[in-house]
Amino acid sequence: MKNVKLLVLIGLLSSSVTAQSSYQEPKLPKVSGNVNLTVWSWVPNLDKTVKEFEKIYPNIKVKVENLGGGPATYTKLQTALKAGSGAPDVVQIEYGYLPSFIDTGGLADLTKYGANEARNLFVPWTWGQVSPDGKSVYAIPQDTGPFAMVYRKDIFDKYKIAVPKTWNEYAKAAEQLSKASGGKVKMGNFYSTFSPWFIALAWQDGGQFFKRSGDGWVQTLDNSSAKKVLNYWNGLIKKGYVSTVPAFSADYWNAAGAGQIATNFEAAWGPGGYASSMKTKSAGQWRVASLPQWKAGASASGNWGGSSMAVTTQSKNPQAAAAFALWLNSSRTAVETNFKGGGLFPAAKAGLKLPALSDKTSPPIKFFGGQDINAVYAKASEGVNVNFQWAPWFPAVDANFNKQIDAMLKGKLTPDQALAAWQKESLDAARKDGYTVR
């Protein structure tokens, strides 16, 4: 195992020499004096990546603290920002949650440290996420989660199902599979407790949920794309063609591994989770294909998750912190190690073409039968709608989604009613919190 890793490393080093000229590296500022940086991130093996940074900046020492990610990190960050001390210099935040932290005033505007000049290094839609007003930049994009379809090749082969190219074909395939398997195999799964998953599917259709307007906001959780997508899925759920198991639960991994679910829609960071959670169960049987389209021949995609690196206003060395965030997410060395060690699908444009992404020895690619899955995701990344915004009260919106979908699944609300209730209750909450929103 160690030898394999060593070989990979040698391969990487030699390939980096040949391909260096084509990779666009970030311009890094000079930082003087001795600096200590603290970084909060949930990316595995980040401490190894950081050592490379310390080689470029011997005067900067970086300490990585892994708080486990998601809610755990946000709670601690929220508290530290409220308390006025205890926050790190650099912190990882998902795009959807970024506005709620920008809103606390606890994140530094990085334009002072040359962030705007790095704009062209990143996949275009990510910049709108870190620079919501097009002027201030509150974070450096780290990874993205463009959407694609994962599917079980063995099940498709067994029941003679062609890979669906449109949502229409997907629904037909679902019916065919249900009949052929006697209802034992579900075509897909609706992640009923993860609004970003649903939002990504509506995002594909051009759905807009939040928009800044003048001095306030417009929220349209019940937009036409959301209605279309939710009605479509509710139809499949009611017919029994798809299950509604929560994401990342033992229940889901068990069902997917046991061949009870034939497809799902996952972000670019998803395959790593499939490989590590199902291990040998159904290994080699999975493949990735582009998202089915509403319009035949189109190549639109949405995005689920992905994250950015922000600098807090509590940082004593925002210049060094900004340099670190920039290096970590756009330098070839870092992008490569973050992908290999942490499964981060690069937000850096040049990163999408790295040979490391198609390395056949990586566990996700092996789990996906050796397919060059990241080529599919890189293509999906290009199809992600650029104009997509989140609102600062998104955490509450996310929670309310679960409530309305639960009512819909119990048959208490129609999809349209569920979306209307989602819109109304989230609007009330945002207004109570003092936002000007309509």
């Binding site: 809610p71 409220k82 007003d133 009923s192 407790t193 001095d215 033992a250 229940d251 003092g434 936002y435």
Partner: protein, 306 residues
């Protein structure tokens, strides 16, 4: 004068001087810790609860002093009131069941002698040694709709399955975890108090002809009464604080934010950064808990006087 010769005034005065400050010196560490870890957070929560967020356009909100606006908001917040309703229903059902089992177990255990007694005492107490989070994870697995061994058994028997994590059932799934964890703990308390009953009372009762059920009904249960009241009060306070179990079950299905007051308050503070609002609700919960336990104590005493 003679008094003066017996005990000289000087040392006496100094002893008196010492005695007025010494208790405070001994108390100081406690009082300091009490002030820092108990009073200060409570006072800070009260302070926080008087502020409300105000926003103008974009950017961070300002915290504005607003007297009791957060409290009136809480009292009009149907989700918050619902959480109180949930926990009241929870307590009304769960506490009598748990204490009923605990009393029964304590009495049975009290009449068993020897090695069996020690064995069962440990077995019943064991669940309490498991942290709430671990217990939640453990039961979460047992509840998982498709993985649950309970459901698999039901399926094998040919009966319908139950989704223990369904939002309408999950309150009782939590009640089951809490009962499982705390019954043994309460049993030990009750059992200890039974062990302290002097044997001559039993002997006297036996001479009077009380045995078996009568002994339990007329001797043991009345003697247990103060301890049952104590465990009841602790259970009321504990019930108001149910948090870990529902929180651990959240990723496994849809658990409403306001299943219990504490989950709702925690999310208001940590997820929505509504510190003032969370503080106001927390103080209301403290008052409600205080009210419940006082009312219960009053009723329990009334019953005792009769």
């Amino acid at each position: 004068m003679s008094q003066g010769t017996l005990s000289p005034p000087r040392p006496r005065r100094s002893r008196r001087a010492v005695s007025s400050t010494t208790p405070w010196l001994f108390l100081a560490p406690f009082l300091l810790a009490f002030a820092v870890f108990y009073l200060a957070p409570v006072l800070y929560a009260v302070y926080l609860s008087l502020f409300i967020k105000k926003r103008v356009g974009f950017g961070p909100a300002k915290e504005v002093f607003a007297w009791f606006e957060q409290y009136s908001r809480a009292l009009q917040d149907t989700a918050f009131l619902q959480s109180l309703g949930n926990i009241a229903l929870f307590g009304l059902v769960q506490i009598p069941i748990m204490l009923g089992i605990a009393v029964a177990l304590a009495i049975v255990l009290d009449s068993v002698k020897g090695r069996a007694q020690r064995f069962f005492r440990t077995v019943f107490y064991l669940p309490y040694t498991i942290p709430a989070v671990v217990a939640g994870l453990l039961w979460g697995y047992l509840y998982s709709p498709n993985l649950s061994p309970i459901n698999q058994t039901l399926k094998a028997v040919g009966s319908g399955t139950v989704d223990m994590l369904s939002s309408t059932v999950v309150l009782w799934s939590v009640a089951n975890i809490v009962t499982w964890t705390w019954t043994g703990y309460n049993m030990i308390t009750l059992y200890a108090s039974l062990q302290n009953v002097p044997t001559d009372i039993y002997e006297a009762a036996k001479i009077d002809g009380a045995d078996g059920w009568n002994l339990t009904r007329y001797i043991k249960l009345p003697l247990l009464r103060p301890t049952i009241i104590l465990t009841f009060i602790f259970s009321i306070i504990g019930t108001m604080q149910v948090f870990s179990e529902p929180f651990v079950l959240r990723p496994l299905g849809y658990v409403p934010d306001n299943l219990t007051p504490n989950t709702y308050i925690y999310l208001a503070a940590s997820r929505d950064a509504q510190y003032g609002y969370a503080a106001a609700m927390a103080i209301l919960i403290a008052l409600v808990t205080f009210l419940f336990s006082t009312v219960f104590l009053r009723f329990a005493r009334l019953g005792g006087d009769r």
